[in-house]
Symmetry: C2
């Protein structure tokens, strides 16, 4: 039987096995593996164990590696002289708050009929449990048809992606010889906004930083002390407000060092995507790109750095009113990086910026939450063209090379530590509400995603 | 028996009855009557009922009045031709968060030995349950000695003082004939910083305002949307940061309309208080008055208006990091007023200010939390001099006329609605940690406070 016939058998097998595959995904999604919350550490390990058991049953040689944080799961298929490929996904998920905005419990997955088709709804459905299961299901179908797994596969599953991946780089260094492949395949991205399949060829980097402003040694009554004692919320507001100027540009000295102009060819490619910013924003209740003056929406998202406040808290914010001058106020800030911006330099510039706003009696403390430079892929590797053709065939529309505004630091880590490029292919939709209440993954994404991997594996094996 | 002998008997009775009086206070303090939190509505009513029962047992004619919010408790002694006096206190308390900063449960009161004497520690010990019980215990001792209560007393206890007193003004209007006296006596203030007894003759007003900035209709991933979608935390930070200029002055147009210069005589009196700002701030871990340039610390606290951010919340502020662009961000802001500043005008100016910072796609909503102008008392009423002399005798040091930075809106309401002045006498200390974790009231404040009322009642009856 030739490769084409076997591919057809694999595709048929995937189609016929869709419902049990969704059942397996539902079991995986029911595990509340929130890596950023220490209270869920046991659940994160349960998710690692579940994945390991699935892979062992498929014939992979599996290891669960303890780390100072959450476990790494690795798996290998038999060697066979094919080009070694490393597949990556992460089994941890984002927190679920605000819980009251969910229409159903976030860890009680369900298949729902919607006007645009069936979806599976749960925290992690799209990011990243549903996505990583697309290639696991493709391997399962391959084995059912071929009798063996695809050869020379290395799988790596992480449980700390949503909490800054503190253990990843040490782990890659310690296991470099076992993990090095000819190419990494990362399934944690999406299709283009219009639904066409896409390979993401550039990613913004990320610096995450928490800042706490400390003033008095206790909360004070704002009647007694207001107007005389330092207010850490005001200090914080003033420091954060000054992060951007009235053109939307970040004010940190040296921030734009290493930020490249958009390549004219890439600008032309992106123009051809006919990105409809109004439609994209309209789906979340917005109308207008608000960012740097003079940049297109896709540039703002994919090719320009930014600073965002991701969280802020201080004083009394519950029901009613409390006339308090709090002892401290805190914020979480992230910077998205492009080109060769240096995460360490930007972190230091932010800390210097905050310190300039401190009046007498106030101090600032900082907590680091991950740092990764931007990544730009080398698409001259023929695997890119082969995967692009396979995606085009599966989806019936031309696959695109696109950028992404989010960070997938592991792509940079694979390059730095293992010397290998990454091919980023995922099937998520812009409306998947990842990191938000009511996250979902289209059943079409899941089903055609698995079929896509079958085609790509056939093309690359 | 003459008044002097009877006074001595009352004072002796109070001294001998101190421990049972502290036991009664402890029972009162164990009721978690947090008026700002709807979950505690039942507890607020329990506190009202407890107080009513105590007063009835003393021979007062008591009524509990339902309101749209929490109940009012009124009580009357027998008429007797004396000058009618209205005594006011509030039986509700502030919220207790952050709970983990309390050394003991906030509603399990205990007497503690400290280096500066015995204290009773619990939420509300100082503000205002401990204070209001000073006059209740004085009435009890008076009755034990005289056989009857002091005549022509009207008592009014409120359960909404810590939540903006929404029912108070309608209640005063509806019961004006029953509540009108020759003078209101309010026990909700403190001694001067050096411990000397004090009558507070001016109070800052208050405008409380909550603002919510709304952007997208859901939380967004800051990787996908960062740099393009509006961030409500940044909009809020920019609006709040611009509330003050680099001289510490509030920037709202017209804000300083009606703010008087400090009267030279009052400036001289306050100078004589030898207020030690470094010591006052040092007790809460601060060193330096940070406020309007060119003003003394007492001016900043008592005679200058200000704007303070009392609470802020938006996005993810828990453990770890979440790269979210939140759908909304909120803050609670209060303005302290002096002179004839108009609360309504300042509220409107703040709302206009916030709206000027709104970019496309952002809206602001506002929630009002109380508004009261500043109060300045007329101390030509001889009751002031009589009370001042009684305080001086009890405490063995010259009583002072002082200002207060906090708001006691009822003083303004008594003037506006009932046409009577207020005499503000309380025994709290600056280190009582009111509105903060580990609130306490000195047993000396409680014991000598009750004795002070016995002397004042004797002087005024």
């Amino acid at each position: 039987m030739g490769d084409d016939a076997r591919l057809q058998d694999i595709l048929t097998h995937l189609d016929q096995g869709l419902e049990p595959a969704l059942d397996r995904l539902s079991v995986f999604l029911a595990i509340p593996s929130i890596s950023t919350d220490p209270a869920h550490a046991g659940d994160v390990r349960t998710a690692a164990n579940w994945l390991a058991t699935e892979l062992e049953a498929l014939g992979f040689t599996v290891q669960i590696h303890d780390t100072p944080g959450h476990p790494m799961v690795t798996a290998r298929s038999q060697p066979g002289g094919a080009r070694p490929l490393l597949f990556y996904g992460h089994y941890d998920v984002q927190p679920v708050d605000p819980l009251d905005l969910w229409d159903r419990p976030p860890f009680a997955p369900a298949i729902e009929e919607t006007p645009t088709g069936r979806v599976i709804r749960a925290r992690g459905a799209s990011d990243d449990k549903g996505q990583l299961m697309t290639f696991v299901e493709a391997f399962r179908a391959w084995k059912a048809v071929h009798g063996t797994l695809p050869s020379d596969l290395i799988l790596l599953f992480e449980g700390e992606e949503e909490s800054g991946s503190p253990s990843l780089r040490p782990f890659l260094r310690a296991h470099a010889d076992d993990l090095r492949a000819s190419l990494a395949v990362i399934c944690d991205t999406g299709r283009h906004a219009d639904g066409r399949p896409a390979i993401t060829t550039q990613l913004r980097g990320l610096v995450g930083q928490e800042v706490v402003i400390h003033a008095a040694d206790r909360d004070l009554h704002s009647g007694s002390f207001g107007g005389m004692a330092a207010n850490p919320i005001m200090v914080l507001a003033q420091a954060l407000a000054a992060l951007k100027d009235d053109k939307g540009r970040v004010t940190l000295p040296g921030f734009y060092d290493g930020v490249p102009d958009l390549d004219p060819q890439l600008a032309a490619d992106w123009q051809a995507l006919n990105f409809d910013a109004a439609d994209f924003l309209g789906r979340v209740g917005l109308t207008t790109p608000i960012g740097e003056a003079g940049r297109t929406a896709l540039e703002m998202m994919w090719n320009r750095p930014t600073a965002e406040i991701n969280g802020i808290a201080g004083g009394y914010a519950g029901d009613g009113f409390k006339t308090v001058l709090p002892a401290e106020a805190r914020a979480k800030v992230s910077f998205r990086l492009t080109g060769t911006q240096d995460p360490a330099q930007i972190r230091a510039a932010f800390q210097d910026h905050v310190r300039r706003f401190l009046p007498a009696d106030c101090t600032a403390s900082f907590h680091d939450h991950g740092a990764s430079p931007a990544s730009v892929m080398d698409i001259s590797d023929p695997a890119f063209a082969q995967a692009k053709a396979a995606l085009t065939e599966e989806w019936g529309q031309e696959a695109a090379y696109i950028g992404a505004g989010g960070s997938i630091p592991i792509a940079g880590d694979f390059k730095d530590i293992l010397g290998m490029d990454s091919m980023l292919i995922g099937f998520a939709r812009d409306d998947d509400r990842i990191h938000s209440p009511n996250e979902k993954y289209d059943v079409e994404s899941f089903a055609k995603g698995a079929r896509s991997w079958a085609r790509i594996l056939t093309a690359l094996r």
